[in-house]
């Protein structure tokens, strides 16, 4: 092993990170990131991890509780990295590392050392350490056993996330794989609610599940942290075994990259459906809209999110209805719940793309400026597409609500709900116009999952989603039928105001786009 060169490459990764701070914005970002990281580490170590360790001791079920907490942390690490893309950045790809005199094994070690040293994973290490420290402090375990368990579990968590990420990437690169993936996520989300009655009826099944769980790395880590005897050593062995299996699986997956399904064909196939859809927007804008649609329809992330916007809305309704039925109403009743879900329909399918329209076009951005159209025409066309695609979900949602809704359907209620959707549609896409220019960020077109939006983009998407989920319950109070009868006209009126906001934004951002197009070009081409 050429540890010297591996060390140099790892240092280079941090030098590159430091190089980003040469700009004023970079310095500010670094300061805030460093400050936040420090605060989080202190908070996690002090309040989170150690606190959890203390609770584990006090409850008298140290091993089980520590295992349960570690399982939660482990699962969060997996979900945050695979679904949201945190800590999964490949600073140097295998291809890039090949230019250096490193053997295959050394390249693998370099890549994963750089990966595991990501601040995201350090946070998880701190959490795990906090629990081990808490248990040790209150006399429930050995410091060295705890430390060994944490280190093994931490590496296990990282490798498991890599393996799962690669499997997800393989699944989503298949035809309909992206849709299957999100359907899977929804099913997993619903699983606890579905399994609860099964476990109640058959406690033997639950006992079986517990037995299986005890062989997992976090549960084993819980045992290792609290036992100084043979069972502690055995638990460490279980984690080490998992680590070996996961490492072998990772090596296998990396050695066998998915084969691109390239069809060698010499006959041009003219596919006209997308162009016909684009033609609805007229001869000038139509080809641009069709181009955007064709472009995004080939994107795995888009193909995951958009088709599942309606099922996701239905899932939310189902989920909140169950909570309502169980007596702990999270949404303040059926009407606020319906308003929240209808509001989300206005942007949930396209929001992530609308806030960063040019983020995935890379060098293609330049082409838009060379075409014999107003330079901002492509920008407007992109927004028209996203608005149209989201608008197309409103009618089916209204029909589905009429059939399956939890409140008896009536014209004023439907007007209120559709008005809510239209309002969020124009409001969100109006804000998205600004974000696409002022908060643009170069993204990775090939990545199916993960988050590569700018801070502004995240604020708009996540803030919009959370805001829309909880705003209706703050505003709508009192008896639902009376509210609908007296105030059904409010949301259509707000929808009109949102439409005006969208049109004004469109006009203003068109000028802004012209003024900032050079800056955007530099950013999208990766030179900024």
């Amino acid at each position: 092993m050429n540890f010297e060169l591996i060390g140099t490459m790892i240092r280079l990764r941090y030098k590159l990170l430091w190089a980003n701070t040469r700009t004023r914005n970079g310095k500010i970002a670094l300061f805030f990131a460093g400050y936040l990281l420090l605060v989080m580490v202190i908070a996690l170590l002090g309040a989170g991890g150690t606190g959890a360790g203390m609770v584990a001791i006090k409850s008298g079920k140290g091993a089980v509780l520590a295992g349960a907490i570690l399982t939660g942390i482990f699962a969060q690490g997996l979900l945050a990295s695979v679904i949201l893309g945190f800590g999964m950045a490949n600073i140097f790809s295998e291809f890039e590392l090949r230019r250096y005199p490193l053997r295959a094994a050394e390249r693998r070690v370099t890549r994963h050392f750089i990966g595991i040293a990501d601040p995201f994973w350090i946070l998880f290490l701190v959490l795990d350490l906090g629990i081990a420290f808490g248990l040790y402090l209150f006399g429930a375990g050995s410091f060295w056993f705890g430390l060994a368990a944490v280190l093994l579990l931490f590496v296990c968590n990282y490798i498991a996330a890599r393996v799962l990420g690669m499997l997800v990437q393989r699944l989503t690169s298949q035809k309909f794989g992206a849709m299957m993936m999100l359907a899977l996520i929804i099913c997993v989300g619903m699983l606890p609610a579905l399994l609860q009655p099964v476990f109640k009826k058959n406690p033997a099944i639950l006992a079986g599940v517990k037995r299986v769980w005890q062989t997992t790395p976090p549960a084993a880590a819980g045992v290792a942290m609290t036992h100084l005897d043979v069972s502690g050593v055995q638990a460490l062995g279980v984690i080490a075994l998992w680590l070996a299996v996961l490492a072998a699986l990772l090596a296998l997956l990396e050695r066998r990259p998915p084969k691109a399904a390239v069809v060698h064909d010499t006959k041009v196939v003219w596919e006209g459906r997308i162009d016909r859809l684009g033609a609805i927007f007229g001869p000038t804008v139509g080809p641009l809209v069709a181009n955007w649609l064709r472009y995004y329809w080939r994107n795995n992330r888009f193909r995951t999110i958009y088709p599942l916007a309606l099922p996701l809305a239905a899932f939310l309704l189902f989920f909140f209805s169950r909570q309502d039925a169980a007596g702990h109403s999270a949404m303040g009743g059926p009407l606020p719940m319906a308003l929240a879900v209808f509001g989300l329909i206005g942007f949930i399918g396209t929001g992530q793309f609308a806030v960063n329209q040019f983020g995935y076009v890379g060098g293609g951005f330049r082409r838009f400026l060379l075409l014999p159209t107003d330079p901002a025409a492509a920008f407007r066309a992109g927004s028209y597409l996203f608005v149209s695609l989201s608008a197309a979900l409103i009618l089916p949602a209204a029909v589905l609500w009429t059939i399956f809704g939890t409140i008896p359907p009536a014209a004023p209620l439907l007007a209120m709900l559709v008005g809510c959707s239209v309002m969020s549609l124009f409001l969100f896409h109006g804000v998205a116009l600004w974000t696409s220019i002022l908060g643009a960020r170069r993204g990775n077109y090939k990545q199916a999952l993960g988050n590569d939006l700018s801070l502004a983009g995240n604020v708009v998407v996540l803030g919009g989603t959370l805001g829309w989920l909880f705003l209706p319950q703050l505003v709508v109070r009192g008896d639902s039928p009376a509210l609908v009868r007296n105030f059904w006209w409010v949301t259509p009126l707000l929808a009109l105001a949102a439409l005006i906001f969208y049109m004004v934004s469109l006009r203003l951002t068109t000028s802004l786009f012209r003024a900032r197009r050079e800056e955007l070009m530099t950013l999208m081409e990766g030179k900024g």
Partner: protein
């Protein structure tokens, strides 16, 4: 170079482009006559691509005027954009699209009807040997991507072609074909404005050449077609029998020797 009684295809007057405090092009003035292949040369970072960016509406000049086909040109001049074709430095392709989809998109935006679009796309793909329609642009080699960008520049039969380093990465057969097309293009009175670093190609293809140095300063402009008839290039009383020595002389490039190499 002032032209006599003929409207210049391209006229640049006092063009400057600054990126913040960095000057990329400084007070550049030149004219390109119609029906010529014009080579725009300079060392790396001398402002060639920036100049082409200003000439094609990608960039806004900080100062100066640009006239294309006798009209004032800026990024908003759609009528002129319709009459020019551009092969940019970074190619400007949409990677997930197939070549025929990309070319058809460009053709439609340039106002070609559906029948003409399909006919021209098919002919261009065939002529440029881009016949593997099962691959997206992302899966094409660098040379093939250049060919697609070239096809996109010519599909609407423009009056002026701007080509930023068109021949690099393309195989000899492709280069020969493109040269042949460019000659036929200018024989019809149309103009080609191109940058390249391959001076032998410039000597064989271009009629006129302008050489700039950092930051975008014009240092020489002249007719290089004389070289084909054993003529000489002149600068400050000195004679040069090829473009390379003149270029090196003007740009101050020196051969540095590394004793360990």
């Amino acid at each position: 170079m002032q032209m006599d009684g003929q409207t210049a295809a391209i006229r640049i007057t006092g063009l400057s482009k600054l990126y913040g405090s960095v000057t990329a092009v400084e007070n550049l003035s030149l004219e390109v006559p119609p029906g010529r292949i014009f080579g725009f040369l300079g060392p790396n970072g001398s402002g060639k691509s920036t100049t082409i960016g200003c000439l094609t509406g990608l960039l806004d000049p900080t100062a100066g005027q640009i006239e294309v086909l006798g009209q004032r040109f800026d990024a908003e001049n759609v009528a002129i954009k319709r009459r020019i074709g551009v092969m940019p430095e970074t190619l400007g392709l949409f990677d997930p699209l197939y070549a025929h989809e990309f070319l058809a998109f460009v053709a439609r935006i340039f106002g070609l009807d559906e029948a003409t679009t399909r006919k021209r796309v098919t002919e261009l793909l065939d002529a440029l040997e881009l016949t593997d329609s099962g691959k997206t642009l992302a899966e094409y080699s660098t040379g093939m991507r250049k060919r697609v960008a070239f096809a996109a520049a010519v599909i609407h039969s423009p009056e002026i072609l701007f080509l930023d380093e068109p021949f690099e990465s393309i195989d000899p057969a492709g280069v020969a074909l493109m040269k042949q097309w460019l000659r036929r293009f200018t024989d019809q009175g149309r103009t080609v404005f191109m940058t390249t670093h391959v001076l032998e190609t410039v000597e064989r293809v271009c009629h006129d050449v302008a050489i700039i140095t950092k930051p975008g300063k014009l240092v020489w402009q002249g007719d290089v077609s004389v070289l084909a008839n054993d003529g000489k290039l002149h600068f400050n009383g000195q004679e040069f029998d090829a473009l390379e020595p003149l270029f090196l002389h003007l740009t101050g490039e020196k051969y540095k020797d590394l004793d360990w190499l």
